[in-house]
């Protein structure tokens, strides 16, 4: 319990240890801790940025997907339209063709009818002439009679 030189010894020891800690212990530890703090801060920031990027990318992806779907729908719709159009066109063409064929057939029929009528008319004239000549049993001027018979035939 006596106060003696130990007092001075302890004071000097105190300064020695404080100086040692100040020079060799503290700066090393603090610098390491600060560096880690910065690293963590940077890491957190990067993570946040990555999160944002991810969100952005997802948004973009959804947008693109939506656009693609829209485009696909538009294409399908167009294709459908085109298909109906093609069908319509084909139908029209078929109808037109049918009409044309029918018209041609009708024309031919008429032509044949006419021809048959002509033939019939000629034959009727000849038949009438032959009939008349037989009825009269006489030589009649064939030329004068032919004119008369033709006039008759034209009236048929």
């Amino acid at each position: 319990m006596n106060i003696n030189l130990t007092l001075i010894g302890q004071s000097i020891t105190f300064f020695v240890f404080v100086a040692f800690c100040w020079k060799y212990v503290w700066p090393a530890l603090i610098s390491v801790m600060e560096e880690r703090e910065q690293k963590i801060a940077a890491g957190l920031e990067a993570a946040e940025r990555a999160d944002k990027d991810l969100e952005l990318a997802q948004k973009k992806a959804t947008e693109q997907l939506r656009e693609a779907k829209e485009q696909a729908a538009a294409i399908v719709e167009q294709a459908n339209k085109r298909a109906t159009q093609l069908i319509d066109e084909a139908k029209e063409q078929a109808v037109a063709e049918a009409d044309r064929v029918k018209a041609a057939a009708e024309a031919e029929v008429e032509q044949m009818t006419n021809r048959a009528k002509e033939e019939l008319r000629g034959k009727v004239a000849a038949l009438a002439l032959a009939g008349a000549s037989q009825v009269l049993q006489a030589n009649i001027d064939e030329a004068a009679n032919a004119e008369l018979v033709n006039k008759l035939a034209a009236e048929l």
Binding site: N2, N4, G9, V18, C21, V25, L29
Partner: protein, 308 residues
């Protein structure tokens, strides 16, 4: 009973005496174990064999145990922390490193809360004080007879004085307090200049602004401020010493029970355990208080007297 009281008293006294190495003057009469008297012919540097001899050595003496343990523990702290600091990596801290960083950041935050000036020395000093004082206090938890008995066995001297807790020696605590005081004065003068420091001592707390009044106030201020300045290191040192000395004393008193029969011995064991558990709080708290007060004093030394 008288002889038992005698041994109890000597047991306590033995535990409260430091291993003192000092100078005994020429002509000093030494009493050895058999009661014979030797008269010293020259001034002699030697180990004190009794409390009386230690007291007679006066100021020219060293407490080898106090200095030895405090230097050993301080060196342990420095070695341990320096090793960790050297190996410290920025990556994920593991085991010892995370523990050390925990302590460092705790001290750093505490100091930053109190001390707002630019001085890179204060925080490391706080760390040194906290860890060193804590380790010195921690020696109090080692059962009080173990180390002295081991030292007596190793040295072969049954009467060797050996106190293992440096902070129960007022020399140690006041020695540190004096260092703190020196730093206080140093930083005060460095920050405010010698004139500023003297002004702080003489123009506080009473100040009128008129010179003929101040003339009478200056001596009063000087006395008040000097007392408050001196009181800081003394209270700092004595607080730590008082707490640890009282704790040590109780451990010694409890230890007395071990020689008083089985029942009292077991009871003493329980008491020692209880007191040790409570003491864990005390030693940590006192180390923390020493660090905080040192930081506060340093902050006061750096503060310019702008209050008025």
């Amino acid at each position: 009973m008288a002889s038992e009281a005698q041994t109890s008293t000597s047991y306590i006294q033995h535990h409260l005496q430091n291993m003192t190495y000092g100078k005994l003057p020429a002509g000093y009469e030494r009493v050895d174990a058999e009661g014979k008297i030797h008269v010293l012919e020259h001034d002699t540097w030697t180990l004190a064999h009794s409390s009386q001899e230690a007291a007679d050595m006066g100021f020219m003496a060293l407490h080898l145990d106090t200095l030895g343990w405090s230097i050993f523990l301080g060196a342990l702290f420095c070695f341990f922390f320096a090793r960790v600091a050297k190996k410290a990596t920025v990556g994920k801290p593991t085991g010892v490193q995370s523990f050390v960083e925990l302590v460092v950041s705790f001290v750093d935050n505490t100091v930053k809360d109190i001390f707002h000036h630019k001085n890179r020395m204060i925080a490391p000093m706080g760390l040194t004080i906290f860890c060193w004082v804590f380790l010195m206090n921690l020696m109090d938890l080692v059962p009080i007879d173990w180390l002295p008995l081991a030292a007596a066995k190793i040295s072969g001297d049954d009467h060797l004085f050996f106190k293992v807790v440096p902070t129960t020696d007022p020399n140690a605590t006041l020695g540190m307090a004096i260092s703190v005081f020196v730093l206080m004065v140093f930083f005060s003068i460095k920050q405010k200049g010698l004139v500023g420091f003297i002004k702080e001592l003489t123009l506080h707390p009473f100040h009128s602004g008129k010179w003929f009044v101040d003339i009478f106030l200056i001596p009063i201020n000087f006395i008040l401020e000097t007392v408050s300045l001196i009181a800081k290191p003394i209270s700092l040192g004595l607080r730590l010493f008082g707490n640890l000395y009282a704790g040590e004393m109780i451990f010694i008193l409890i230890a007395l029970m071990f020689s008083a029969g089985l029942f009292l011995g077991i009871f003493g064991g329980v008491l020692q355990w209880g007191w040790a558990v409570f003491h864990i709080l005390v030693i940590t708290l006192q180390a923390f208080v020493f660090m905080v007060l040192t930081t506060v004093y340093m902050a006061m030394a750096h503060d310019h007297g702008d209050e008025h």
